[in-house]
């Protein structure tokens, strides 16, 4: 896995969070995922194919999910219901689109499937690739409250 692929996801997430949510994010130290479990409690997943094949997921804590929903829609949600799940699915879709534009600049064309959202902690996920999964941790602040999410991706 070429470290050059980290940047497309970083750019994509920054762009989406800034433009659509009005949230500044900070990335922590990238690493390799040591397990096959979802990193947070609400996880958007998308596979892709083309010049490379693989998957990426964006995984939020429950509190961060609700913060993201409120920032995106302008309404508070009491829990992770269908509207919130839908919102995370769409966010995953938009980040995927932006990342693919950046990856295209590296010379690779990718197409994506429809996103899936997994609700639950430590749910086992099977990344379809045989190469290690890169894990990017992110934090953000909304109204003085810290939020957290993780971006995992792998392709070959």
């Amino acid at each position: 896995m070429d470290a050059a692929f980290v940047n497309p996801y970083l750019v994509a997430v920054q762009n989406v969070f800034t433009t659509m949510l009005g949230i500044q994010i900070s990335m922590g130290k990238p690493g390799l995922k040591s397990d096959k479990l979802t990193s947070g409690e609400v996880t958007g997943v998308m596979g892709f194919a083309g010049d490379k094949k693989g998957m990426f997921s964006i995984s939020f804590t429950k509190e961060s999910t609700l913060q993201v929903y409120k920032s995106m829609i302008g309404e508070e949600a009491q829990g992770v219901g269908p509207e919130v799940v839908d919102c995370i699915g769409e966010l995953t879709n938009i980040i995927s689109g932006q990342a693919r534009v950046q990856i295209e600049k590296l010379g690779y064309k990718l197409s994506a499937a429809l996103p899936t959202v997994i609700v639950g902690e430590k749910v086992e996920m099977s990344f379809i690739t045989k190469v290690p999964v890169v894990n990017l941790p992110f934090t953000f602040q909304v109204n003085g409250t810290q939020g957290q999410f993780y971006l995992d991706f792998s392709f070959e």
């Binding site: 762009n15 989406v16 433009t19 659509m20 995106m72 829609i73 302008g74 509207e83 839908d86 919102c87 699915g89 769409e90 879709n93 938009i94 995927s96 689109g97 932006q98 693919r100 534009v101 295209e104 064309k109 994506a112 429809l114």
Partner: protein, 125 residues
């Protein structure tokens, strides 16, 4: 202005409707995919604007766009594609199919408003 918003994600339909409300477009119908959308348009020729996503089940945005442009009663309705598909090939494909404007997610309310104005001008509305 009677408007049809097409997206399989309810969240995005809500966001687009909120932006449309800011530019005084409040007469808005929603559809979850291109198949539903084309049925709505064929049943009612009074629509003046279409705002559609690309990746949708049953009938994609590009298939829906082509169906609209092939229909004499619908083809002059300004069609704005609002999509996460930002790669050059996708944009070119939509232009070839006759899209009146194309805006990539994520977008600001201002981006969408300008895209709608340009689409209306291009369609002579």
């Amino acid at each position: 202005m009677k408007t049809l918003v097409v997206d399989d994600f309810a969240t995005m339909r809500k966001i687009v409707k909120n932006v449309l409300r800011q530019i005084d477009i409040t007469n808005v119908t929603e559809a979850e995919n291109g198949k539903q959308a084309i049925e709505i348009l064929r049943a009612d020729p009074a629509y003046e604007l279409i705002v559609s996503d690309w990746i949708m089940p049953e009938m994609t945005g590009i298939e829906f766009l082509k169906a609209c442009k092939e229909d004499e009663n619908i083809r002059k309705v300004p069609f704005v594609m609002v999509t996460a598909e930002a790669q050059k090939d996708s944009v070119l494909e939509a232009i070839k199919a006759g899209v009146d404007n194309y805006i990539v997610k994520p977008f600001t309310p201002d981006n969408l408003q300008k895209a709608i104005e340009k689409a209306k001008a291009k369609a002579g509305k």
